[in-house]
Amino acid sequence: MKQFDYVRPGTIAEAVAAAARPGAVYLAAGTNLLDLMKGGVSRPDRLVDVTHLDGLDGIETLADGSLRIGALVGNADLAHDAEFARSYPAVTEALLSGASAQLRNAATVGGNLLQRTRCAYFYDTASRCNKREAGSGCDARDGENRSHAVLGWSESCIATHPSDFCVPLVALDAVVEIEGRSGRREIALDELHRLPGDAPERESALEPGDLIVAVRLPPAARGFAAHARYLKVRERTSYAFAVVSAAAALRIENGRIAEARLALGGVAAKPWRARAAEDVLRNVVPTADAFQEAAWRALEGAKPSGDNAFKIELARRIVVRALLLAAAGTPARMPALPASPFASTSGAIHA
């Protein structure tokens, strides 16, 4: 690991000033960053440790019914918050399907949003990677790429964003609060991650020094609690990143879908909100046929970036299954294998 300076700021303003300098990065739990530093993939000159800052680890309901989650709230603490699980069950299911219990205990909400891709060529410093080293090329394009993107990719980069947590969050219109050099601002989570285009090294809308301080779920996000699921296909049952995942949330009134939310994971460089699919589900009866139509809409424009055409059909089926599970109702208790299509208590309905 390259040598670095360690800074522990006392305030958010000090943190922003320290992290705005070239070569500086924020350190939260470090579960992703330290791994990347050990491999020489990330080589920061300075770590700005935000874990001792006050006021970033609370979960609070705001006057308008929004929920504000501090950036330093632990993934496990959020997932094990009973009130949170009742109100946003698909988010809890996504959290519990990610990583291992040890990593969830350490990892933070803010850090999860900014975790880096798991593309093997990004991790392997002997390979060319436009994301790691701008302009060097992409060895994934003609390499082992069955897990890579099928939506929103470019010739420069076919990596995917690995977060589970972000998938239901983006479906529920989460907002990210950011403290930067020119003060506080907020953006939709959907705008946080960038598609690669010809600059895959720029992964987010954040500027130097920008610190995510909170994630907010708007009041409407609670309206889906009765019909919300996260479904994730992995290469093994637990402790693996998504090959494809989907968050589906429905608001059902008088037997019809008043509003649908749908997002996919593992398919693009960002959590992929499928608005065209949501549109066709408005005011229809929740049936397998309607969900098939939504699935086709969700994957419109998808194309293989390598040996991964299977992911397009897999994603369609996962979308249909997630919507059917959501329509059947949020289970009273979290399944033993959260988000798993093989969960014995998932009430799986075959599409």
């Binding site: 360690y6 470090g30 990593l103 350490a106 014995s344």
Partner: protein, 165 residues
């Protein structure tokens, strides 16, 4: 630049001067305190052999910078027994052959203790397997590990019932 930190390790306060901020909790425990029960397996957060409890929660000590954990309360495998009296999870691992080579065992035991404190798995074998998925065992002693954890959990439930009775 030197950095001073203090930790509570297995109940005792320890002060350290770090001349390098790159030291992980794992390396600090092993190299500075010679608490070598905590194992370095993959050193990348994938195998769980380095699992310890920090402020009561199980984490991978290989992915935690010591300098960032100034003030933390740490429990390692060396701190779980009371003298010669094994922790119930340790005893259950022996009773159920929850290991073969033993390298992953301290991490498995610390993870199981952390899991029981989290209270999410209960006596459901499927939930235990899911909640222990962050600990790999290359000998494949998983069946014994799950049995051991279930027995320890049942013992804890019994103790709690006796206390509340």
């Amino acid at each position: 630049m030197n950095h001073s930190i203090s930790l509570t390790v297995n109940g005792a306060r320890r002060d350290f001067v770090l001349d390098d901020p790159r030291v992980t909790l794992l390396d600090l425990l092993r190299e500075r305190l010679h608490l070598t029960g905590t194992k370095k397996g993959c050193d990348r957060g994938q195998c769980g052999a380095c699992t310890i409890l920090v402020d009561g929660k199980r984490i991978n000590s290989c992915l935690a910078l010591a300098i960032s954990h100034d003030g933390a309360d740490i429990l390692t495998i060396e701190g779980v027994a009371r003298g010669d009296q094994l922790h119930p999870v340790q005893a259950a691992f022996i009773a159920h052959d929850g290991f073969q080579c033993g390298f992953c065992t301290p991490g498995q035991i610390m993870s199981a203790i952390g899991m029981m404190r989290e209270g999410q798995a209960g006596n459901d074998p499927e939930r235990v397997r899911e909640c222990m998925s962050g600990n790999l065992c290359r000998c494949g002693a998983y069946a014994g590990i799950v049995d051991a954890v279930l027995e320890a959990q049942a013992g804890m439930d019994e103790t709690n019932q006796r206390r509340s009775a």
